[in-house]
Amino acid sequence: MDGQTTIWRVETKTRASTAFAIVAALVICAGLAAPMYLPRATLQDLFFILTMLALAQSWNLLAGYAGLVSVGQQAFVGLGAYVMFAGVVLLKLDPLVAILLGGIASALLAIPAGIFAFRLQGAYFAIGTWVIAEIVRLLVAQWKMLGGGTGTSLPASTTRHMQGVDLVHRMFGFRPAQAVDVVCYWLALLLAVAAIFMVYRLLRSRHGLALASVRDNQDAARAVGVDARRLKALVYLASALVTGLVGALIYVQKARISPDAAFSVTDWTAYVIFIVVIGGIGTIEGPIVGVLVFFALQKLLADFGSIYLMVLGLIGIVVMLFAPQGLWGLFASRTGIQLLPVRRLLRGGPIKN
C-alpha cells in the first residue's frame, strides 16, 4: 500500500438518471394538471394505465425482487374493493376513508395468507396464493348484504360526496360525475407514483441490496446475516397493501362490483404478469414500458374478442423467448442506460470501470 489514505465514495447516479429525474418531475406536473386539458375519456384511459402500473410495480417487487411468484394478487384487489364497498354502503363512510380501510384489510389478509403460502416453495407457492384467492372469493360471495354472488352497486350519491369532489366541482366547474373521475384519476396518479417511489427507495436502501442477495443465493445471504424470511414477509405485506388500495380505488371508479370481477385472475394477475414480463421483470422501468405496450395492444385489438387474449399470449411467449429480460431489459443492456439506477459504484483508488 502507498500509505496514503484514499477517499472512497459510492456513486449511484448516472447522467441519464439525472435527466430522467427532471423529466419525471415534469411528467408528474403535467399529469396533475391533465384534467384541465384532457377530455374525460382520455382521463379514464389514464386512470386504467396508472392503476395497472401500480399493480404491476407491486407484483414486480414481489416476483422480480423477492422471488415470490404470486398468482393470487386478485385476493388483495378483491378484498380491498369489497371492504371499501362495505365501508361505503354498510358503514356510510366517505369512499376515501373506505379505500384506506380496503388497503388495510388486504394487508391484514396478507398475514395469514403469508403464514400459509410461505411454507410452500416455487410453483407450490404460486398455487397456494391462487387457492387463497379462490377461498376469499367464495367467502365474499356469501356476503348477502353486498349482493352475494351477483354483487352490488355504489349509489351515485356516495361517490359524489367523496372528499374533494365538491371542491373540484366548484373550483373547476366540472359536472359531479366528471369531478368524481378527476378525483379518482388524481388518486391513481398518487398511488402509481407512490408505488414507484416506494420500490425505488427500498432498492436504494441496504434492505434492497439484501433482497437482491437473497434472490441470488438465499443460503449465502443468511450466512452473511441477512434475515431472508423477514425481508420477504415485509415485501409481501407491502405489496398486499398497495394492491388492496389500488383494488379499492378501481372499484370506487367502477361503482359496480361482483365476486367474479373483483377476484378475476385474468384481470388482476394475468394481465399484470404480462405487463411486467413484457416490460422487464426485476426493473422499475420495465412495468412502465409494459403498461404502455399493454394499453396500446388493448386499444388495437379491442374489437377482436377472444383473439385478443391469444395475441397477448403469443406476444408474451415471443418476448420471453427472444428478450427474456423484457423490452426494457433489452434496451438497457444494449445502451447501458438506467433511468432509476440502484447499482452502487465504488469510486476512488485504482478501480477499473
Binding site: 500500500m1 484514499t6 472512497w8 465514495r9 459510492v10 436502501s205 441496504r206 441490496l209 439484501a210 437482491a212 442477495s213 434472490r215 441470488d216 443465493n217 443460503d219 449465502a220 445471504a221 443468511r222 450466512a223 452473511v224 446475516g225 441477512v226 434475515d227 431472508a228 447499482r343 452502487r344 459504484l345 465504488l346 476512488g348 483508488g349 485504482p350 478501480i351 477499473k352 470501470n353
Partner: protein, 239 residues
C-alpha cells in the same frame, strides 16, 4: 473461556455418520488447522458450527453461550464468519455490493458507514480493481478471494476458512498466507480447513486431524506430522 466449543457433536446423513462424537475447543486469538482426507466431514463440521446443518446430538458453544439451535443469521451477527468451499457469490451484484450486503446486514450498520471498511477489505484481498465488476463474471481464484472478503465484511470474531488455498500458484499462495496472517494478527480467531499443508503450517498453532467423522488427534503441527496414526490416515503412508 474458549471462543468455540464443540461437545460430543454427532451428525449423520442417512446411515452415514459424518460427524462422530466430535469434541474440541478453540481459544480466542488462536489459529487452528483442520486436515483430513476427502469426505472426512470437515466441511460438515463448519456447517454445524454456522448452523447451516443441524446437529443430531451434542452441543456447540460460541463465547460461552449455547448456540446449538441458533439460526445461521444470528450466529453471523454473534461473530461467526465463514467462507464456502465452493464459492457462492451474489452473482448479479458487483463485488463491492457483495461486501456491502455482508457489512451492513452482518453488523446492522448504515450503508454509508461501511463504505470505507469494504473498500479497505477489497484492497487487502486484492480485489479492489474489480470492485465494480459483476461477481458472476469472476474467475475461480477471484471468487475464492471474494468469499474471504465477504466473510471479513461481516466483522467476525471467529473466521472459518474452507479450502481457500487450493489451485493457487506458489506466488498467489504466498500472498494469501500473508493476508491470512494479517487477519489473524488483527485479533480474529481462525479455523482453517486446508489440503495445502505448508500454507496451513505457516499460520496455525494447532492441527486437528479428522477421519471418518472422528477426531483422530489434535496438537502442534510438528507433532501431528510426526504422528504415525496421522501419517497413515492422512498421508496414506504405510508405517
Amino acid at each position: 473461556m474458549p471462543i468455540l466449543e464443540l461437545d460430543h457433536v454427532v451428525k449423520s446423513f442417512g446411515s452415514l455418520k459424518v460427524t462422530d462424537d466430535v469434541t474440541f475447543s478453540v481459544e480466542p486469538g488462536e489459529a487452528l488447522g483442520i486436515i483430513g482426507p476427502n469426505g472426512a466431514g470437515k466441511s460438515t463440521l463448519f456447517n454445524l458450527i454456522t448452523g447451516n446443518v443441524r446437529v443430531d446430538a451434542g452441543r456447540v458453544s460460541f463465547e460461552g453461550a449455547d448456540v446449538t439451535r441458533m439460526q445461521p443469521m444470528k450466529r453471523c451477527h454473534a461473530g461467526v464468519g465463514r467462507t464456502l468451499q465452493i464459492p457462492q457469490p451474489f452473482e448479479k451484484l458487483t463485488v463491492f455490493e457483495n461486501l456491502v450486503v455482508a457489512a451492513s446486514m452482518g453488523s446492522q450498520k448504515a450503508e454509508s458507514e461501511v463504505t470505507d471498511r469494504c473498500a479497505e477489505i477489497l484492497v487487502d484481498t486484492g480485489l479492489i480493481e474489480r470492485a465494480n465488476a459483476l461477481a458472476g463474471g469472476l474467475g475461480l481464484l477471484q471468487r475464492k478471494r471474494l468469499e474471504l472478503a465477504r466473510a471479513l465484511a461481516t466483522d467476525p470474531k471467529l473466521l472459518l476458512l474452507d479450502e481457500i488455498a487450493g489451485g493457487l500458484t506458489e506466488a498467489e499462495c504466498k500472498s494469501l498466507i500473508e493476508t491470512i496472517r494479517a487477519i489473524h494478527a488483527s485479533g480474529i480467531t481462525i479455523v482453517w480447513i486446508e489440503h495445502v499443508l505448508h500454507a496451513l503450517n505457516a499460520v496455525v498453532q494447532r492441527l486437528l486431524v479428522l477421519n471418518f467423522g472422528k477426531v483422530v488427534d489434535i496438537g502442534t503441527p510438528e507433532d501431528m506430522m510426526a504422528s504415525n496414526a496421522v501419517r497413515e490416515i492422512y498421508l496414506g503412508i504405510e508405517v
